[in-house]
């Protein structure tokens, strides 16, 4: 039993799940805004990065980790709401490339401003849990207290979002505003407010993700920390279907596992190439994603 737990394949599986939940969180964050506003938020990673800087670079380094994290989440939500009100609201009903360009521009502004204030050098965040793997019969299991903390946090966040959307009145209003804005407005739902709230939730999830990523000793926090993570998260979201939260979660974890095996057995540089290949193939087979309920648009 212990030989199995410390074996190479189980190590890949556990490592893959740990990476995968991060991709799932990014994908979930993208799905939340895509469902409500039909905008792919290319600045998602950059907004989360700014929130993390606010929580961990503006406050004194001695500040408690959890207080910093709470500040980052609040900052992320405020930034998300403000973005929806100021930039995104001007983009509704425009040609579909306009939001893409605007969000990429916003990404560039955020990354440059962050580098101007905090420089491009990596900043280590305090790590609340040890990153050293647990031992079993003097062999490491590919799971550390920190990795477990990442997974648990991700599960908690996903559960909160799921409960919010499925079992609360607010969640019903959020879904109604996204699916049928005109009817919802007639029935008294404040649609504009719901869209802002959708962006705030998405950015809150993003901020937690970025804190988890940057708390990892090996990555640290730089203005471009989230670029690569965003790319994997987008791939997961696109494979799962941009309008399917379940798809985002499943494909994020599945991708994390597959890529961990690729990195271990093939080459770590092949990881993103394989991810790109998976994206190309899956989009050719199912352009709207594997888990999407949406019918293929006929042209």
């Amino acid at each position: 039993m212990s030989a199995l737990l410390t074996s190479r394949n189980v190590a890949d599986l556990l490592g893959g799940v740990t990476n995968g939940v991060i991709y799932s969180l990014v994908a979930l964050s993208l799905v939340l805004v895509w469902r409500s506003t039909r905008i792919l938020n290319f600045a998602q990673g950059a907004m989360a990065m700014i929130a993390t800087y606010i929580g961990f670079a503006i406050l004194a380094p001695s500040t408690n980790y959890w207080i910093s994290m709470a500040v980052a989440i609040v900052a992320g939500m405020v930034l998300g709401g403000a973005t929806e009100r100021v930039i995104v609201r001007a983009l509704y009903g425009k040609p579909e490339i306009n939001p893409v360009v605007a969000m990429v521009g916003f990404l560039l502004v955020l990354e440059s401003v962050a580098a101007a204030i905090w420089s491009t050098s990596s900043r280590g965040l305090p790590t609340p849990f040890s990153m050293v793997d647990w031992q079993l019969n003097h062999k490491p299991v590919a799971m550390s207290p920190f990795a477990l903390y990442e997974i648990i946090t991700a599960v908690v966040v996903m559960s909160i979002i799921a409960v919010l959307f499925e079992y609360t009145k607010l969640g019903l209003q959020l879904r109604a505003a996204a699916i049928a804005p005109e009817v919802s407005r007639l029935l008294g739902v404040r649609v504009g407010r719901m869209l802002t709230l959708g962006w705030m939730l998405s950015s809150g999830v993003g901020a937690i993700t970025a804190v988890l990523v940057a708390s990892n000793y090996f990555t640290g926090l730089t203005p471009t920390t989230m670029d690569g993570v965003f790319a994997f998260g987008f791939i997961a979201a696109a494979i799962g279907g941009l309008d399917s939260p379940v798809g985002a979660l499943v494909s994020g974890v599945a991708m994390g596992v597959v890529l961990q095996f690729v990195g271990d057995y093939l080459n770590s540089n092949a990881i993103i190439l394989v991810a790109l290949g998976m994206l190309v193939v899956s989009l050719m087979l199912r352009p709207n994603g594997l888990f999407s309920a949406e019918r293929q648009r006929r042209v």
Partner: protein
Amino acid sequence: MGPVQANQRFVATTVLSVLVVLTSWLGVAAPRDAAALSVAAVIVVIGVSLLTASGFRRDHPVATRAVLSLVTVDVLVAASSFWSATVNSNLAIGAAMSIVLLGLSFLTGSSGQISIGNGAFMGVGAFTVAIWANHHTSTPIAVVLLLAVVAGGLVGLLLGLPATRLRGPYLAGMTLAFAVAFGAILNLFGSWTGGDSGLQLPYAVNAPPWVVHFYSSATSSLTVNSVWLADVAIVTTGVALFFMANLFASRTGRAMRLVRDNDVAAELVGISLPRARVVAFVVSAAYAALGGGLWTIINNAVTPSTYGFALSITILSLVVIGGIGTIPGAIIGGVIYAFSANVISWITAHTGLNPQGNVASQLNGIIFGVLLVVTILFAPMGIAGIVRRWFARRSR
């Protein structure tokens, strides 16, 4: 248009493009030599009188574009011989960037799609040139550039295949993933691409003896070579511009604009949507690769860090600020790129910022980012659109 007529037009286009290439290369002989300058001036006079002749522009659209490209190239080539090495180097880099922007403008202008990965396609061309030149030192540089175009087109085809069924943000996201992945892909083939340090060209692309001959022996070889490189870039840009102008106006181009504006109607009149979308994507990738190939020749080397995600965003910014989907927009974007570094350092010098500080080093990104957001929100057609509107108002 009957088949015979179409055939004639094809022959005419081919003959004229060959003429453009030949006379452009002759124009390269212009530097600082009285006889050469008079040849350049005669070309301009003939060109301008043709363009202003009544009915010429209406009856001979292809020839008009050829003459327009030729005159522009001719003027720039003649002027380059009087400019400093710095200005010429900026000009060369900017001209190559214009080619990249032409490709991206075509993609958006013809199919309504956008790519955030054209920096990586540039990298494909840049590394193709460097790898090929290192293995086959005797291949003429024009052929190596063509190989870069082919390589870019092939990679574009591979990535563009899903584009047949994708809309808007999905394709943009996929190209973004490609841009982010490009560094790792280069590393994966490190034995060819030279890993982190990149590749040097085994030889410098210097001015050939017949060009050096035009200069007094007192002129430094640095100056002569910088003029030569600028001229190579300008001539290549002229040819790329000529083909792009014809493509925009051709039946294919018009079909693609219909795809952009109303894809259902396009399908009804028998246009193959998947083909139109893939062709647009492949053309944009090939143009980007040509620009990247030129950069390798101009810099005499290629480093992977040049072709990171940041370059792809810069390309997008330039094409949007210049005027997306239009040919003038691509040229304006190239000019902005050529001189943006000078403008930034001027601002740094005049605002008292520490030139080595964080703010000064990020000024470029902040300015481009803000301009990008402001442009797409308030003037989505960019500078070209503003100018066009201004002229339209004046002529009314």
